[in-house]
């Protein structure tokens, strides 16, 4: 087969290469589909949380957060603060946890003169982890 003929009708070997590539792509697609089916599956364990979503707050020390699966979701829980975040993935659960503790910090500060003993204690424990940036800093 000359060069002109190959341009019009590719050789049989080239056809075969195309088929192989197609199979490889199918395999990748299959793997992606598998990982998307179980997005929240993880090995339960503890992580040190330090990603505060609120710039008004600074982290004094990392917060030990336990990740576990619960009710078809992932729960990020800090036993010391008796607080949790929940989401469809570990990332979402940790995001929710971060927002929750920031919200909790400001709520407790706002109501500090009207808290029961348990929440006063919680406010103290939370202050060991989080602090507000002063106007000067």
């Amino acid at each position: 087969m000359n060069a002109i003929a190959e341009l019009i009708a590719p050789a049989a070997k080239q056809q075969h290469d195309l088929q192989v590539r197609h199979i490889v792509i199918e395999n990748i697609a299959t793997e992606l589909e598998f990982s998307m089916e179980k997005p929240h599956q993880l090995v339960p364990g503890t992580v040190l949380f330090g990603a505060l979503p609120d710039r008004r707050l600074r982290l004094k020390k990392p917060i030990a957060v336990e990740l576990s699966e619960s009710e078809g979701s992932v729960v990020a829980q800090c036993q010391d603060l008796n607080e949790f975040g929940q989401g469809s993935t570990a990332s979402h659960a940790l995001d929710d946890f971060g927002k929750t503790i920031c919200e909790l910090f400001f709520s407790l500060e706002l109501q500090k003169d009207h808290l029961g003993n348990d929440l006063q204690n919680l406010r103290g424990r939370l202050a060991e982890y989080l602090g507000e940036y002063s106007a000067a800093s």
């Binding site: 009710e71 729960v75 979402h92 029961g116």
Partner: protein, 88 residues
């Protein structure tokens, strides 16, 4: 715990609520905030019953009684009083 069950808790305990990223709920007694909990707005999964129960300072039986309406708000106040969370 289903979302509607969380709603039962809000109603039975007369929890004050506010929608933020999550739905925040807290129990006030005589002008003081005694307990607080929350639920996420996420769809497709149930709420972590045990964690909500712990935040409300209830055991499993007490929470079940609240949900089936055999435990009243006054009973809840007594539970909190027994635990020393509300002064006698």
């Amino acid at each position: 715990m289903k979302v509607h069950e969380f709603g039962v808790l809000e109603t039975k305990l007369q929890l004050k609520t506010r929608n933020s990223g999550d739905r925040l709920a807290w129990f006030e007694y005589q002008g003081r905030v005694i307990t607080r909990t929350k639920r996420s707005h996420g769809k497709g999964f149930d709420l972590p019953k045990d964690l909500i129960r712990q935040q409300l300072k209830l055991n499993a039986d007490q929470l079940a009684s609240l949900l089936d309406c055999s435990l009243s708000r006054d009973d809840y106040v007594n539970i909190l009083r027994t635990k020393g969370l509300i002064s006698a």
